[in-house]
Symmetry: C2
Subunit: 156 residues, 2 copies
DNA sequence: TTGAATACCTACCAATCTACTAGGGATTAT
DNA sequence: ATAATCCCTAGTAGATTGGTAGGTATTCAA
């Protein structure tokens, strides 16, 4: 159930970039310093984000990275897919069909849970933008939050 | 983003037990055979479920495992917590407070996402029972299935 | 034109985790 | 007593994680 640090660091880097959006490129070293991350490792993490077209790089002396679009139009889902591949907790419940596996039982009881879980995760990730993670309040633009029995969850 | 096979196998075993609920103990070897799992490995997986009080074991000749309660009253959340520990994707967004970490920033932007995600996951897991995974239809009490692009999932 | 600052790439590595296997001990119905 | 079962611990090959190291390419500025 643990997320790899790739996602954690990658998202933190993107939030950092979102916060300085509009102020020109931010050097890798600056991001790493600001977030307390290893520069070399962060470099490997930001590469897939660039390849996915989420950040732009400019080389040379005043170079660095910038968001490829406004923080409002980049979702956590895009970032996670770039870093982790298709969103799925399990082979047979991937967002994009995995024909191969699950020959065993398509009507497999437990698969139902993984599908529900995946949908729920995809829903959260795709409805959260970088802007949502930067503003002071914690509510995204459209509030389609269903009033579930949240609130029992101790701790802010 | 991948779940360990512990959870997958553990849940499958529990579904198997749920399906034979009321028919006496089911031997480990039978569960393993029915689900196509390694017996030795499954043994290690079912142990924490027993320690968590979710299944009961009876030794001896006609022994085996039974659910400790009705499938309706055992949730996926209980099973996952027994197998994976506290539900969290990341240290600083655990369900039970982790004071230690995250000295960096409690108002950390990215943390907001992990909390939302965790809440969403906890919500799904705690609202799904074993009975939900055994019945013919795929709807638990409330039906909130969004019509996503499922159906692409090519059947075997 | 040179130099420095940056991004970009590949290979390597130690430690940990995963998914088992092996083998024996404890308990119980027959 | 015996066989069937659960129970426990240790080992292990391979993959993954979280990096480090070292070099190349590109750009700006003097």
């Amino acid at each position: 159930m643990k997320l790899s640090s790739r996602s954690e660091y990658g998202l933190r880097a993107m939030v950092e970039l979102a916060q300085s959006y509009g102020s020109g490129p931010l050097a890798l070293a600056d991001i790493a310093r600001a977030q307390g991350l290893s520069e070399g490792y962060l470099e490997q993490i930001i590469a897939p984000l660039r390849r996915a077209g989420l950040v732009l790089a400019t080389r040379g002396v005043k170079g660095g990275y910038t968001l490829a679009a406004s923080p409002k139009s980049i979702t956590a889902g895009q970032i996670m897919r770039a870093l982790e591949g298709p969103l799925d907790l399990i082979e047979c419940a991937s967002e994009y069909g995995s024909e191969s596996s699950c020959k065993r039982e398509l009507a497999c009881g437990s698969r139902r849970l993984w599908l529900k879980l995946r949908d729920s995760i995809v829903d959260v990730l795709d409805s959260t933008t970088l802007a949502d993670l930067c503003t002071g309040d914690s509510t995204p633009g459209d509030k389609k939050e269903k009033p579930r029995h949240v609130g029992v969850l101790a701790g802010q």
